[in-house]
Amino acid sequence: MIAGMFAQLGVPTDAPFAVPEVAWSALTPLLILIVGALALLVVTALVPRTLPVGFFTVTTVAVAAGAAVASLGSWDRVTDPDRGPYMAVAGAITLDGFSVLVTALLAITVVLVALLADGYLRREGLGAAEFSVLVLLSASGGVMMALANDLIVMFLGLEVLSIALYVLAGFQGDRRESQESAMKYFLLGAFASAFLLYGIALVYGATGSTNLGEIAGFLARDVPSEQGLLLGGMAMLIVGFGFKIGVVPFQSWVPDVYQGAPTPVTAFMASGVKVAGFAALLRVIVSALSVQAQDWRPVMWVLAMLTLVVGPAMAIVQTDVKRMLAYSSISHAGFILIGVQAASDRGTAGALFYLFAYSFMALGAFGVVSLVARQGDVGVDLDRFRGLSKRRPGLALVFAVFLLGQTGVPLTSGFMAKFSVIGAAVASESYALAMVAMLTSVVGAFAYLRVIVAMYLGDDEEMAEEGTRRVQIPAAAGLALGLALAVTVTLGVLPSTVLDAARDAVPARLSPSR
């Protein structure tokens, strides 16, 4: 009966079943993350006593750093002009400069998140085992998205990333805000996934393949007989990705989820998850559907414009610093969209550099917020930061640098990042967008400067009377903040290494049928 079904579908039944060759070496970073997470899970289950938090921090850092090193190890191979990018697992994944760089960035964000979470988990008394495993698995989903050369692989990566994050958002099960964050993230995330999947189905119907290389090849050769299917599919894909990366008008969940989730998880959402989401958007829309650029560029233009205006406008009215940073994360998504909208290699490189720079600033800023908060992740409104420079001058200075970096002050990575995307927009003749971007970064600066003013000029007496304890800085979190600070300043002064890498990391379009 099955043979009959295959015959009906036109599959030759007497042909030997061809097992695709799996190039394990190409999958090394992904395997390190997944095997690391599963091994951690098994060890935790088998060891009779509760292992200390430090063990999980060290293991997570080691696994993620291993994945980053393994990924960067193939950089020379894929950027070598003679050998170049290649595909593996029957064309389902691509190894090119883009996937290597994004994988490494994701793994590095996991390192910093694990370091930030160390002190946080101790303070809140949460299970470090589950946290480490979920963060590693979530990152493995992100890596899958970065590697994917097939829409289905990309969807699976997105789901692995998201499902682990739904749990992480609700990790503080006895805190109402955390539960609410998880519920909202779950409902909106599943909604977005369904849209994305419908978009994949329509693109499949229009082009006859879910493989990105074959889709690009098909569109370069001929016009789909049902152009409406393709346009509808593209629109659905943009809605799905738009939800995931939190651009206006699909941003409604971002402030609530970011505010309610445990702060290290929020830091991961703002860095790693954004990186993975934008990587997928760049590979699918900008690279594979580049032939249709005249159709999707206006849409991206409108989304970028809305995001650039709404993000900062909402950020300046917030009194809760964590929520303010959530809105600021929306406005940064707008800046990255400028690079996407440029629809050029320069725009892609700019967006990639922006993601690199913003990840570290976001990790640092949310890291500081997690340290300043009291137990239970409460008390992160502006008043709590008043006079921080007198209580903790070092922490206040570090926070000020991250905030100034997000504003786009020269000599920080934020300036170079904004410069590179706006430069790409001007090169693609999107002058209006470039103008608006510069104007709204001034508006956004007000939100950041308000926090800095409160830290340096605010009166500390009120806090002293309350008798609140001094802000504690655990060694691991201090290390994470130091690393993020070093990257933020280094990229501002000497950006050329990462800028060159981002330029070499344009997604390759490879098709298995060639």
Binding site: F6, L9, G10, V11, I152, F155, L156, E159, I163, Y166, V167, G170, G173, D174, R176, E177, Q179, E180, S181, A182, M183, K184, F186, L187, A190, F191, S193, A194, F195, L197, Y198, I200, A201, L202, Y204, G205, G208, S209, T210, P255, D256, Q259, G260, Q318, D320, R323
Partner: protein
């Protein structure tokens, strides 16, 4: 007697719309989960239809992946719901509104 392929596509689109609309207007989380399932299965129907139209088995393989993902998703969703219901006797999504601004 064979039915034209486009009917299946229209049915898929209709089911997807009903699911999306239901998710937006219903307030009971369980019904909202069902709406998500409806949307995903509408996509499955669309995939199978395209698979037959294109004479390509890839579209049918996708359905298995989607089924697994949908199951995993609903498990996590129910887990979150249970953890919320443990603290309060009943919950519609309107009760979950501590975060705003």
């Amino acid at each position: 007697m064979s039915v034209d392929y486009s009917w299946y596509l229209f049915l898929g689109a209709a089911l997807f719309t009903i699911g999306a609309y239901g998710l937006l207007i219903r307030r009971n989380p369980l019904v909202m989960f069902m709406c998500i399932e409806l949307m995903l299965n509408a996509v499955n129907l669309t995939f199978v239809t395209f698979s037959r139209m294109l004479n390509d088995i890839g579209g049918q393989v996708v359905v298995f992946f989607v089924l697994v993902v949908a199951a995993a998703e609903v498990v996590v969703g129910l887990g979150i719901l249970v953890s919320i219901l443990r603290r309060r006797p009943s919950a519609t999504v309107d009760d979950i509104s501590a975060l705003k601004g």
